[in-house]
Symmetry: C2
Subunit: 346 residues, 2 copies
C-alpha cells in the first residue's frame, strides 16, 4: 500500500485556519489505499518568542524525513521584520535547495480581477529560489552614523541559472502554447543580465519547439496589466519573481487563490508548498480567510509527489466553487473547506 508522509507547518495568523482546510481537502481526495501521515511543526512567531529559535539544524533533520511540506504562513508584527523571513522561510528554501519557485496564475471563471474586460490569464512563473539578491550577502559599515553604507549583493551562478532555466523550458515545452519569456533587467544589471541572457539563449537550442522572448522587469509589469494573455511561462530571478508574482496574483484573482511550490526537482530534499499570501494578522482567528490558495497549494504538492489525477480534481473543485460564489454571501474558511472536500470526494 502507498503512503504519503507530510510535514505540516500551520505557522502564524490565518496559517492555522487555512492549513486545516488544506488537510481536510487532501484527506477527502486521496485514494483509500494511500496511508496519509502528517506531523505538525510549531515554527513561527510563538516558538520564536518562547525559545528564540526559528529553524534549527535538528528541525531541518526532522523535516528531511518527510515526502513534502505544507506551509500556511509565517510572520507576525510582534517579530522584527526579517527575523522569521530570513531565519525560517528563506533558511528552509536555501537549506532544501528549493531552486524552482513555481507560481501559476490563472484567472478562473467568475473570479473578480481589478483589470477591466476580464482578460484571459493562464501562465506560470518559474522564479529562481536560491540565488540572486536573496542570498543575504552584503553588509553594513558605520551603522547608525551619517557615514553608514549598506550593501546587498545579488549572486548569480551559471549552475543556478542554468538549472532553473532548463526547468522552465521543460515546463513551457509541456504546455500547449510552448512559449517562454525571460524577465530580467539586463540593460542595467549587466553582469547578472548577461549571465541570464546567455544561458537562456544557449538552453533554448535544446528546445527548438519553444518560442522565446525577453522583457525587462519594468516593462513586464506593464504587460501584466495591459496584456497578461501574452504570457505562457516566465522564468526570472528571485527578486524579480517575488515582485511580479504578487502582481500576477493580484490581476488573476488575488492572493486568496494564489498557490506556490518551493521545489527541489531532484528530490534530494522535500519540496514545500504554500499559499502566496502572508499570515494576515488583521483577520486571523475570524474564519474570514479564503483557504483556496492553500488548497491549490495542496494540488501542486500532490502533482509533485505523483498524484496528477487528484491534483486536477482539486483544481476543478476550486474552479467550480469560485464560479458558484458569484453573487452569494461570503462563507467562512471552514465552510469553503467543507464544500471543496465534498466536491473532490464526490
Amino acid at each position: 500500500s502507498r503512503s504519503l508522509n507530510l510535514a505540516v507547518i500551520p505557522g502564524d495568523g490565518i496559517g492555522q485556519e487555512v492549513v486545516a482546510q488544506g488537510l481536510k481537502v487532501l484527506s477527502a481526495v486521496l485514494p483509500q489505499d494511500v496511508k496519509l501521515e502528517t506531523k505538525e511543526y510549531d515554527f513561527g512567531a510563538k516558538r520564536y518568542h518562547a525559545t528564540g529559535e526559528t529553524l534549527t539544524d535538528a528541525d531541518l533533520d526532522a523535516l528531511k524525513q518527510h515526502d513534502a511540506i505544507l506551509l500556511g504562513a509565517i510572520g507576525d508584527p510582534s517579530v522584527p521584520s526579517g527575523v522569521l523571513e530570513r531565519g525560517f522561510l528563506l533558511k528552509l528554501r536555501f537549506a532544501f535547495d528549493h531552486h524552482v519557485n513555481l507560481r501559476p496564475s490563472k484567472l478562473l471563471p467568475g473570479v473578480a480581477t481589478p483589470l477591466a474586460g476580464q482578460p484571459e490569464i493562464d501562465f506560470v512563473v518559474v522564479r529562481e529560489g536560491t540565488e540572486g539578491p536573496y542570498t543575504g550577502n552584503g553588509g553594513t559599515i558605520r551603522k547608525g552614523t551619517p557615514q553608514e553604507v549598506a550593501t546587498e549583493v545579488s549572486v548569480n551562478t551559471a549552475f543556478g541559472v542554468e538549472r532553473v532555466v532548463r526547468d522552465a523550458f521543460a515546463r513551457a515545452q509541456a504546455r500547449p502554447r510552448k512559449k517562454l519569456t525571460l524577465v530580467h533587467k539586463n540593460n542595467v544589471l549587466t553582469f547578472a543580465g548577461h549571465l541570464w541572457t546567455n544561458i537562456f539563449t544557449k538552453v533554448a537550442e535544446e528546445f527548438p519547439e519553444v518560442t522565446t522572448d525577453y522583457i525587462h522587469v519594468d516593462a513586464a509589469t506593464i504587460y501584466l496589466v495591459t496584456d497578461p494573455g501574452r504570457f505562457d511561462v516566465i522564468v526570472t530571478d528571485n527578486l524579480f519573481g517575488d515582485i511580479i508574482t504578487d502582481l500576477a496574483a493580484a490581476v488573476s484573482g488575488g492572493i486568496g487563490v494564489a498557490a506556490s511550490g518551493n521545489i527541489n526537482p531532484s528530490g534530494e530534499f522535500p519540496s514545500m508548498f504554500e499559499p502566496v499570501h502572508g499570515s494576515a494578522p488583521d483577520i486571523a482567528g475570524q474564519g474570514k480567510a479564503d483557504p483556496s490558495a492553500t488548497v491549490l497549494s495542496v494540488a501542486l504538492l500532490l502533482r509533485h509527489v505523483g498524484y496528477e489525477a487528484e491534483a486536477a480534481a482539486i483544481e476543478e473543485a476550486v474552479s467550480a466553487d469560485l464560479a458558484e460564489r458569484v453573487g452569494k454571501p461570503a462563507r467562512s474558511t471552514a465552510e469553503i473547506g467543507d464544500a471543496l472536500a465534498v466536491r473532490v470526494a464526490g
Copy 2:
C-alpha cells in the same frame, strides 16, 4: 530680460518626433520676455555607431552650461543592450547627481486605464537616482564557463538615502493629503532595508504633519492595481522605483502620458526631463507617437526652473486635450503638438 537655455537631446526612434512637439509647446507657453535658447545634441545610437562614443567628458562639460536638459529617448535594437543605458542615460544621471527621480502618476479625466472602475489616481513617486543596484558595482568571473559567477552590488549610503527621503517628505508636506509611503523589501534585503527604514523613521520626526507608512515592494504592486488611491507620495530605491513607476504609468493612462524629471535639487548640475517611455523603434518616423509624455516633462522642467504658472498651463492643456480625444479618430504626433500649443497660447 529673462532667459532659458536648454540642452535638447532628441535621441533615437520616436524621441525626435516627440521632442519637436515638446519644444513647440514650450515656445508657445513661455512669456514673451523670456529668451529661449536651445542647443541640440546628437547622442544616441547613430552617434555611437559613427564614433563609438556615448557621452564624453567634453559632452558633460558642454551640457553643464545649460539651465536644464530635455531628452526624448535613447535606445535602438542595433546597439547591444546596456551600452547606451549605462554609457549615456545612467552616466548622465550619475555625473549630474540626479538623485531625485520624480515620476508623477495622475489618471486624468477621459484617459483609459486597464483597471476596472476608473479609480482615482494621483500620486508621485520619488525614486532615488544615484545609488542602489544601479551603481554598476559587481562583476563576473569565469565568464562563459559552467563556473561563471556574476554579482550585482546594491550600494546604499546614509547620505544618499537621507537626502532623497527628506526631499520626499518635503513634497508630501506640500500636498493636501500629506502622506508618504516607503517602498522597500526590508524583510529580505535587511542591510539596505534597515538603512532605509531607520532614516525614514528619523526624518519623519522633522515632518510631524506627514502621515507615513511602509509597504514591501511586492505588496506595493498589488495595491497599485487594487487600491492606487491609497498612495500620495512614495519614496523608494532606484530599482524598485524603476519597476513600480512603469506599473504606475500603466495604470494611470499608459506610458503615452508618463513624464519624469531627473533632478539635482541643489542646482549644482542641470536637471534632465524625459518621458518614461523608450524610443519605440517599431513606430518611429510614422507620426504615431503620443507627445503628451514629453510635453508633460516640459511642464516638470518649467516648474523646476521657476515657471510654475506655465507648468500648470501645460498640465491643464494636456488634461483638456486628453478629455477631448475620447471617441475621436487618432491624431498624429504633430497634430497633438499643434493642439497643445494652441491651448497654452490661448
